[in-house]
Structure formats: structure tokens, C-alpha cells
Symmetry: C2
Subunit: 411 residues, 2 copies
């Protein structure tokens, strides 16, 4: 018997039929003798529809009131799901963020969880045999103001709750069966990963495989909560994300990930003086632009090129400050390339294995894929290539690191 | 400067356009220097839609969860309305039932208000210049369970709040401009009533003019809260409902009301013995049937007829117990007539004036309208007539008591 926190997203709750399906999914685990706490998002497009209504009343809706409004979506989910479970003959009870004392700071629409005061309430209800339905995404301040947690908020609620009640596992039910060695839409042979460390999951996510939000994985890492990404439509094990262990290190590369959401900017002929890089990136940050990879080429005749990648959606904002930067640092000019993609190989085994980078670069070179930028961390190597070569790069690396189903014995 | 509680129903809040209109209506009063507390229902059909969704998940949805679900509708209204007010440049703040400490008993879906703990919160926000948007219909128990107040719940919230914060007036904004001397759809000449006593309003409501719910008027009567039923689309005074005064007594009949929602049942040849009536109506009550008027004809040869009216919608339930009753009391049988209507004249002036009943009966007789039943209270005379004569009866009484616009000088 285990204490399980399950989290279902809004798409799984869009219609009465889907809710009844989810109810059965919960009941299957309950029937095994597990204690069940279930965190849910708002049903289907509820939140978007509410925001759309709000924007007809106010150009920029007041954030306090937006939280008050949005919090109703998850409250509807917990009530409806509890009804469905009760109808099916099980004890169930819903809890809002306020009722559970999910205490947050006062930053409306992007609040941070500070404490969960009502963990005892959940424990009590579980002891009495209830399935506990908890509203994700929402909390309350010490002044009883309703707050919401921003992007990935419901995932965060699930992990924070799992921490507070010392759950054995925090499960994320998805329409995919787990985290894959590569996007199965690109690599036909991609296979489900059984285990990942928190850091690998973080690197895979920031590489583009957005299965869980990083703030949720970071929270789990800090409190050592075992995460399980699994399919709604199957009872098979998905991907378990937990503290790194010896077994994990045996696998050098866990997965290949990519994203095409970045653009590359190069500032040319920057005088090679101390403090210049700092000046450039302070200005970029002032322009509210997030920078991902940064490289600075070898100095040549007292001047150098600085290249970095940003999110494409920030390109306009970046361009607004770039002219000013070029002038300030007395550079020769800048170029922006939106037709790039980032491809990454991630794995904790890299730490103890050498030569991974050279395998990677050789595989790409053999396929005549030019590498425009390189960036490495302890457990990740990322390269920037031309956008139209991204899929080829993913395929060739997936194969070079022998990640496919054909490369290993059946699970 | 006055402290005003305004209440808007869901139909006034069905679309963004209507909400913006309501916001302007509130702002007009605010601009006069008044302190504004506004109680709202859920927008448009929200509550019905939620219940419909719930009924796809459970035949009889759990009542605790139904309250959790339904309470979201009003929460959406207060958030959206606050945004609209803020957008228009005013300070506004929303409050849920829980946040205001609207304490109720634990009877889900039909809870009673016990106390409003958070009146101080409203007072503070008003002092700071906020327009306070309060969710109607909802409360919370001492165990922090969300409850709803049942039919007319939002009206009740408004009056209870007006009591708690000692408001000068509790306004109900309607698509009609007030309470009328008769249904203007029936009596072309009907005119708006300027003042009514609580008792008159209660009698008019139970007579069929459902402008306010009785529990709301009763609450107002108990705490002496001045009510004002007025039009959303006009700034003119509507009908003020307050403690009876000398002025009111000068008007003998305030209004004529009717309803066609009742059916008349006659139990024939009931042995005229003590305890028989009690037996009959206990059985009727056991059948979950509400009785309105009751008359017992003069005893004739040791047996009598008992007639009473019930809501037509309860007719099937009544028929189920009537055979049993007839057998038990050894009556000769029963008849049921669903083609009747009740017409009432209401006015506190009746108390001090004699001959009202005879004016009424004569007016009806002159028009050849047969009276099937009569029932009187201190401030009301009701008659049952054939359904197809109801409109005629209303017209003739409205004219007999000189209630029309033509009968008095312009207001």
C-alpha cells in the first residue's frame, strides 16, 4: 500500500466522459489499496475562456481579480471529479487551495508556495478512506487573498503536496506514456526511458522536451520526491524521475532533445576589453530578453565576436536594444539568425565517461551537419545547427548513442 | 452620502457588455459620494450549466460537492465585475462568502446564514474608497466547508450584509422599475408603488408577484433594513419597502396580485368530527405537498366538504395520498380542479378601513365572476376564481380600488 499523489491536466478533464474515464483511472489505483490524493487543473479550455471574458472587460485585467477568477476553474474540477467518484461508490472530498492552507507569497498570477498548512487535513481524510481531490494552481496568502501559481502551477501543487504529506510517489498522468529518448515524431525508433535523475529531466526539459515544468522538477529535487511520468491510457510503468544512482550512471546518454524556439544573435567586432560582455548582457537583460547559450570567439586583432541565443519570441525586444549596444561597445554591427535549432544530448553517465563530445561531433560531421555553436554542462552537450538540419541531427545522434529500441534487449 | 448595498441578478451579468453596463450603473451611485457594496449572482446561465455538467457525472450529485461547484459562479461574477470597475478607473475589490466570513449552518445547497464575521473587512475597504463586490448565494461553515443558500440566496446575502454593515438601504436592481399595483401585462393602467410595508411585500409575493424572495423580505423585516426595488435601466425611484408608517395606512389597497400556479382540491362528505382536519392535513404534509388556502364548508347532516389549494406542480404527489385519506376519514371522495387562479388585494390600510371585502365581492359579482374560495388575512383578501377569469378579476379589482395612473395625480 502506497500513498500516491496523482496529477491530471485540463485536457484529461475537458468533458464529462473524460472525467468519468479519469475517475476510473484513479479508482484502479485506489482498489489496489493505495491512498490517493489527486491534483487537477481546470477542465479543458476553462481558464482560457475565463481570461478571454476578462479581456473583454479590461485591457489588462487586475491581477488580484484575475486570480480570483482563474481559481474557479480548478474548483470546478475538484467538485465535479469528487461527484464522479462518489457516484461510482467511493468516498471522495474536494479541497481548494484555501481550504488546504496552500500558503503563497502575494505575487498574484505567479505566486510561490511558502508552506502547506493543511497537510493534516489530507492525512485525516485519507485515514477515513477518502480520495482527496485537490485544486491545483491556486493558493492563498496570509491575508486570505486568492493567488495562482503561474505556468506549471498545478504540477507544482502536486509536488509540494507530495512533499508535505510525504507521499511515496507523485505521478503525472499524460497522454504520452513517459519521457522518450527522443521525440517519437522525429525518431521512429525512440523508446521510453525507465529512469531519469532530476538533473537529466531538467536538462531534457530546457532542451525542449517539455514534459514537466522545471520549477516542479527543481522542487522535487530539493525535497527528494519521486516523480513518475506515465500514460493516462495505460497501467504500464512510465518514466520514474528520482535521485541519481549507480544504475543511472551506466547509461551515458539518456536522451536527445531539441528545440526550434531560439534565434542566434552575433555582435561583430566587439573590442576585446574587460567588462564588455557584462555591459552587453546587462543591456540585453534590461530589454527583458532571456539569453540561453553564450559563446565568445577567440580574440582577433583586439576585437572579437560575441554570439548568443535567445527565445525567438523575444527577437523584436532584442533588436530594440541591439543598436544601442553596438553603439555603446563600439562594435561593428550585429546579425540575427532565426533559422537555427538547438540539439542536446543529456545523460548523467557523461560525468564519468570521456569522449562523448567527440562521438557527437563526428556523427554530425559524417552527416555533413555544420555546428554553429557548442555549449556544454556536466550532463549535457548542446549544439546549434541550421533549423532544417535539426531532425537529421536528432536522428543521427539517437543512433550514434544507440538509444533506439533495436539497440537494446526488450524491456 | 449613504452606505448602499446593491444586488444584481445573473441575467444582468450574462455578457461582458451587460457587465460593463452594470459597472456604469454602480459608478453612477459611487460618483454621488455613496459608499457601495454590490452583491452579485452567477453570470447568466452559469449555475444551470454547471448543474447540467454535474448531472452527467452523477444522477444525484453529492450536495457538498454541488456547493463547491456552484459557488464558482458568483466568484467569477465578483472578479469580472471588479476588473470592469478597475478598468473604468475606480477602486474595487471582490470578496467570496468565505473571505467575508458569511457563516452558515451545514445544510448544503440550502444553508442558513448564522453570522457575518467579516463585516469589518467591508467597512475597512469602504473607508479606503473601494467598491466592494460580494459573491451572493454562498457561505462557509465553521469547518470551512463551502455552502450555498438555496433559492433567493443572493437576495438574502444582500439583506444580511446590509444588516451587518448597517447600510442605509439595500437596493435590488431589476429589469422592472419597481413593484406595480398589478401585473402591467394584464392591467395596462398599473402603476408603480412608491412605498410598501414588509408585510404587504410578503403578501404580494405569496400572492404571485415574485419580485423578492420571502425569506429575504422576512430577514429585512426582522432587522428593519430598508429595501428598494428599482430598475437597472433608470435612475428613478422604484418601490421602497420599509417599516409600516401612518402614510402607508392611508392607502387602503396597495396592489392586486394573482397566480395561476395552484390547484383546488375538495374532499367531499367528510364526517364532521374533531381531529378529522388534522388527520387530513398531516397526511397531505407527509406526501410532501404544500397547502395554501384552506376552507371548510358549513357542516350538513354530520358531514362536510374540505377544500384547499396546493401548488399545481404537487398535484401528482397529492393524488397519491388522497385515495388513502378518503379511505381513512371515510369521506365520499375527492375532486381536483387545476383550472383555477387566486386573486388577492393587499394593503395595510385594510386594518383600519372596513368594507374592503364587500367592495371586492361586489366588483367581482358585477362582472359575473364567481368566487369559489375566500381567504383573508389582516392585510390581504384572496379569492379563488376560474382560471380564465383571473385577468378580468385583476382588472376589475384594480379599477374598483382606484389603483390606476388615471385614478391619481401624476407622481
Amino acid at each position: 500500500m502506497a500513498l500516491i499523489v496523482q496529477k491530471f491536466g485540463g485536457a484529461s478533464l475537458a468533458t464529462p466522459e473524460k472525467m468519468l474515464f479519469v475517475a476510473d483511472r484513479i479508482i484502479r489505483e485506489k482498489k489496489k489499496g493505495n491512498q490517493m490524493v489527486v491534483v487537477v487543473s481546470a477542465p479543458g479550455d476553462t481558464t482560457d475562456n475565463l481570461i478571454e471574458f476578462a479581456e473583454k472587460l479590461a485591457k489588462i485585467p487586475d491581477e488580484r481579480e484575475l486570480d480570483m477568477l482563474m481559481a474557479t476553474g480548478e474548483q470546478q474540477s475538484i467538485a465535479l471529479m469528487s461527484m464522479a467518484l462518489i457516484e461510482k461508490g467511493f468516498k471522495a472530498k474536494s479541497f481548494t487551495g484555501a481550504q488546504l492552507g496552500i500558503m503563497t507569497d502575494t505575487k498574484h498570477t505567479r505566486a510561490r508556495i511558502l508552506d502547506i498548512k493543511g497537510a493534516g487535513k489530507i492525512k485525516k481524510a485519507l485515514k477515513e478512506g477518502f480520495i482527496c481531490m485537490v485544486a491545483g494552481f491556486q493558493g492563498i496568502t496570509d491575508k486570505e487573498e486568492v493567488t495562482t501559481l503561474g505556468r506549471g502551477g498545478s504540477d507544482l501543487t502536486a509536488v509540494a503536496l507530495a512533499t508535505a504529506i510525504k507521499a511515496d510517489v507523485c505521478e503525472f498522468l499524460k497522454d504520452v506514456d513517459g519521457v522518450f529518448t527522443a521525440n517519437p515524431g522525429v525518431v521512429f525508433d525512440a523508446k521510453k526511458i525507465d529512469f531519469l535523475s532530476y538533473d537529466e529531466m531538467l536538462e531534457l526539459s530546457s532542451g525542449g522536451a517539455q514534459v514537466l515544468y522545471n520549477r516542479c522538477v527543481e522542487f522535487a529535487k530539493n525535497y527528494n520526491v519521486v516523480l513518475h511520468v506515465r500514460g493516462t491510457f495505460t497501467d504500464k510503468q512510465g518514466t520514474i524521475i528520482k535521485k541519481e544512482d549507480k544504475e543511472m550512471e551506466k547509461i551515458i546518454v539518456s536522451g536527445i532533445t531539441y528545440n526550434k524556439k531560439e534565434a542566434k544573435i552575433t555582435i561583430k567586432g566587439v573590442p576585446d576589453q574587460p567588462g564588455i560582455a557584462s555591459l552587453v548582457f546587462n543591456k540585453i537583460a534590461d530589454g527583458d530578453v532571456n539569453v540561453d547559450m553564450i559563446i565568445q570567439n577567440v580574440s582577433d586583432n583586439g576585437s572579437t565576436d560575441i554570439s548568443f541565443t535567445i527565445f525567438r519570441k523575444d527577437a523584436v525586444k532584442a533588436v530594440k536594444v541591439l543598436d544601442d549596444i553596438v553603439k555603446k561597445v563600439k562594435a561593428k554591427g550585429y546579425s540575427i539568425d532565426e533559422k537555427i535549432g538547438k540539439v542536446s544530448a543529456v545523460g548523467v553517465g557523461m560525468r564519468t565517461h570521456t569522449g562523448i563530445a567527440s562521438v557527437m561531433f563526428k556523427a554530425l560531421a559524417d552527416k555533413k551537419i555544420n555546428i554553429e555553436m557548442i555549449s556544454t554542462s556536466e550532463i549535457k552537450i548542446s549544439v546549434v545547427v541550421k533549423e532544417d538540419q535539426v531532425e537529421d541531427a536528432v536522428k543521427v545522434l539517437h543512433s550514434a548513442f544507440k538509444l533506439g529500441k533495436k539497440d537494446v534487449k526488450a524491456e
